[in-house]
């Protein structure tokens, strides 16, 4: 029986008081306990930023690597041992800026990972510069006249990149977010969960109240067909007065690791090499 206690870390938390990350951590922990995920069979790979500190505040395997490079590391881990539950986690700068190329290709591969992006529309660790998801006109020290490029829409990008599970959560809706994380882990394939997260120190526009006033659950009033890709494109463009959260798009296709014969029987880590077996290759050179 996995309890919340099994996920308790001794590492003291270094986030600002009131940070949206606290709620995301709570939702993540709840999801992991709910699905009875063993901590030693879980690896969380994170990048650099405030969000990537998250796995230190859980007791589980953690690889806190480079800014933007979470997905390739997570891909390597999953391919080496696909019996592990592998999650990747980072912020909007990490995932949609520095790691943009990896983001597109990890979705294309459909490797079975769950990717949480703590999206606060601003750089926190480096103290308040514009991020790829900062809104047009967002004023920061590096954009004193306001951001002159529009915000990137990660959900549209994901749906276009054949991501097989595309969702958005909100740090203020902990139970809803925990459910999305559970669904994401349960999904066979690459699952993106973009999480709207207020930054209390550097984003005075998109505050907790700003989000709370706009958020609504995608299937609250009428049923929503997440397998309809065109509809998903339409829904993912909603932003402004009303912001939907929930699963936007979901479909099944073979995962990367399912298609690799080398690991059909057992993961790479369980396999032993016998050098003498390679002598047979030498015949071709004679």
């Amino acid at each position: 029986m996995v309890t919340s206690e099994d996920y308790t870390s001794e590492d003291p938390i270094a986030w600002c008081p009131g940070c949206g990350n606290f709620s995301i951590l709570k939702a993540l922990k709840k999801a992991l306990v709910d699905i009875q995920q063993q901590p030693h069979e879980l690896v969380i790979v994170s990048g650099i930023g405030q969000a990537p500190k998250t796995p230190h505040y859980l007791r589980c395997n953690c690889f806190n690597g480079l800014h933007g490079r979470t997905l390739p590391v997570a891909t390597g881990i999953k391919l080496a041992n696909h019996h592990l539950t592998v999650m990747a986690l980072g912020g909007d700068g990490d995932g949609y800026g520095e790691g943009g190329n990896h983001f597109i290709h990890a979705m294309r591969r459909n490797i079975n990972l769950t990717y949480l992006v703590h999206n606060n529309q601003v750089y926190g660790l480096t103290k308040g510069q514009a991020s790829p998801t900062s809104e047009y006109g967002f004023v920061t020290k590096t954009t004193p006249r306001g951001a002159i490029s529009p915000a990137c829409n990660p959900l549209l990008l994901a749906i276009a990149s054949d991501c097989s599970f595309v969702a958005r959560g909100f740090a203020g809706e902990i139970d809803h977010l925990a459910n999305l994380i559970k669904e994401g882990i349960g999904h066979k394939g690459f699952a993106l969960i973009d999480i709207l997260q207020p930054c209390v120190s550097f984003n005075r526009v998109n505050t907790f109240k700003w989000y709370s006033d706009r958020i609504y659950k995608i299937d609250a009033d009428c049923p929503y067909d997440a397998e309809d890709r065109l509809n998903a494109f339409k829904k993912a463009q909603e932003w402004g007065d009303k912001i939907p959260i929930g699963v936007f798009y979901r479909y099944q296709r073979p995962t990367l690791e399912e298609q690799i014969p080398a690991i059909a029987d057992q993961p790479l880590v369980a396999q032993r090499t016998h050098p003498q077996r390679f002598l047979e290759l030498l015949e071709a050179f004679r």
């Binding site: 953690c62 391919l79 080496a80 790479l268 050098p275």
Partner: protein, 572 residues
């Protein structure tokens, strides 16, 4: 006997089909063959050549002059005619390329006409030329016919027959029309089929696979791509995963992820791709994750000469990455070393939990070498200190970066015990959590750098040949092995006492590996394929010895032994 044949022509004309049949023929009959591939960065056209050297003694380098030049196009006549020995002979199809020569050594053979008559198609000119070249050497035709049978078997009996008829016709044409034969004395065929012909890339790939490579990720880049292709070809047979990454940054990060999870993983690239990998190189150093990276050098800076050779990335790989962290750098000079050093690279990477770089270059990676054996069965796999569940009665007490005498902390593999592991690119505590502590920081730097001393003890001495001290010492590393060794032989035959010191394990450097006092009395000549003599400076700094002369070459082409000897005579 030591004969060289150069086949010149445009890309796409089938230069390699001629060189490979000739090479296979002789290797199977117990000769040593070395093929140097010289090609431009294009798929069709341009000027390319293969130079096949056939000898009764081991050869690891290009010969300066050739005995037979097969010109498949007009360009070859002008570009390559100077490489002919005085008695060397050039064959070409004068009818096709519109060239006439009064020179008795220039021998026109109507390749195209013979191919159309005997082989029913002009495509067969390569087989005609192959047959003609073998006749010039007065060697048996049958092994060539056997080689063609094997090469074209899959295309059906008709193709085999047409190629064999073409080769026979080319062979007979030379026998009937060429006066003063045989031109070259080749010992009679001795069917042995023991020796192997393979490229440096193939040897590296084989060494890695037999050493337990389970995961390869890379992004195609000349001259490293052949490694990825070889591993891919055999991946399903040996349960290896090959993932073509979106860029080199992804490739090395995937390799680090796979190694962290416990699978031996490697990537290969060239200088430009390695530039992109450098941030992750120091990630491997900081998180203490094993990683093996092959850097097959080509001339830079930037895109440089993509299909040519240079040894100018030594300084780069030695210093790449921000911060202090340990690494090892190895550089094979022949295929046997490549196999041995790849095995060593994986063992060192696992044991010391740090990156190991293996340097190749276009010359080494693309050249074909003949070897008597590759002792794959003697490879020993040492995964280093990895704890398993029985080693951890109290899983919560496991500390990833626990200090030890050697700086090496035992690893666990995620999921293989009930403990959890925290690895961090930030400076971290023994538990692996982020820290700002000045004391912990200092301890961690010392712990990591302590591993460098362990690595230093693992490095083997250079190859010294011959053993007796000499007035001249030729110092080199990596792919210049064959040319330097041969140059030393030539110098000794010319009564200039010379010795080779060849390094294939470059870093960390151990100055005790050479007799410094004795060497101080010799004239040390560094031979390197770069502009600045990168290893020479490093060696000089590490040993305190003065490099008396540098013989450097940075035109993108490999050294020949003749060239080294001539430059020693002229410049020194």
């Amino acid at each position: 006997m030591d004969i060289s044949i150069r086949i010149g022509g445009e890309a796409g004309q089938g230069i390699q089909s001629i060189s490979s049949i000739i090479a296979k023929t002789f290797v199977r009959h117990d000769f040593y063959v070395f093929i140097n591939q010289d090609f431009a960065s294009r798929i069709r056209g341009g000027h390319n050549f293969d130079q096949v050297r056939i000898s009764t003694a081991p050869v690891h380098a290009v010969a300066g002059k050739v005995h037979i030049l097969i010109a498949l196009d007009k360009e070859t006549l002008s570009q390559d005619v100077d490489c002919l020995e005085e008695t060397g002979i050039m064959i070409f199809d004068g009818e096709e390329i519109g060239f006439k020569s009064e020179n008795p050594n220039h021998f026109s053979i109507p390749f195209a006409r013979i191919a159309a008559e005997a082989g029913k198609s002009k495509i067969m000119i390569n087989s005609v030329a192959t047959g003609a070249a073998v006749a010039l050497m007065d060697f048996d035709l049958q092994p060539v016919l056997d080689g063609l049978q094997e090469q074209f078997q899959q295309k059906g009996p008709e193709t085999v027959k047409n190629n064999q008829k073409s080769a026979t016709a080319g062979f007979e044409y030379v026998q009937q029309h060429l006066k003063d034969k045989p031109r070259f004395k080749v010992p009679p065929a001795k069917s042995a089929r023991q020796k192997m012909l393979l490229t440096g890339s193939q040897a590296m790939a084989l060494g890695a696979m037999a050493s337990g490579l389970k995961f390869y990720s890379g992004y195609p880049m000349s001259p490293a791509t052949a490694i990825m292709e070889f591993v891919s070809t055999h991946a399903d047979q040996y349960n290896i995963i090959v993932e073509q990454a979106e860029d080199e940054i992804a490739a090395i990060n995937m390799v680090i992820g796979a190694n962290f999870a416990g699978a031996r993983a490697m990537t290969a690239t060239s200088g430009g791709g390695f530039c992109l990998m450098v941030e992750a190189l120091s990630l491997a150093g900081m998180t203490e994750t094993p990683a093996v990276i092959i850097v097959a050098q080509r001339p830079g800076p930037s895109t440089g000469l993509p299909t040519r050779t240079e040894q100018a990335d030594l300084n780069f790989v030695m210093h790449a990455g921000h911060g202090d962290f340990p690494r090892a750098i190895l550089a094979p000079g022949r295929p046997e070393q490549a196999v041995h050093l790849l095995a060593k690279a994986f063992n060192l990477a696992d044991k010391y939990q740090t990156p190991v770089i293996v340097l190749g270059d276009q010359h080494f990676n693309d050249a074909y070498f003949t070897v008597d054996e590759l002792a794959l069965e003697s490879i020993r796999i040492d995964r280093g200190h990895i704890l398993t569940a029985p080693d951890l009665p109290s899983p919560r007490e496991y500390k990833r970066y626990a200090a030890g005498d050697s700086g090496i902390s035992p690893r666990i593999l995620p999921g293989q015990t009930r403990a959890v592991v925290y690895a961090d690119s930030d400076e971290h505590t023994v538990e692996g959590h982020i820290t700002e502590s000045a004391d912990v920081r200092s301890q961690m730097v010392r712990k990591r750098m302590q591993k460098l001393e362990g690595l230093r003890r693992e490095i083997d001495p250079p190859e010294i040949y011959p053993f007796d001290p000499a007035g001249l010492v030729l110092l080199g590393w990596g792919s210049t092995y064959g040319a330097i060794k041969e140059a030393v032989d030539m110098l000794n035959q010319n009564k200039m006492a010379a010795q080779m010191i060849h390094y294939s394990e470059l870093f960390p450097f151990n100055p005790r590996h050479v007799a410094i006092a004795a060497l101080a009395k010799s004239k040390i000549i560094a031979v390197e394929n770069n502009f600045s003599g990168q290893f020479a400076d490093f060696f000089s700094h590490a040993t305190g010895l003065t490099i008396d002369q540098k013989i450097l070459k940075y035109d993108g082409r490999p050294f020949t032994s003749r060239e080294i000897v001539d430059r020693i005579k002229n410049e020194i």
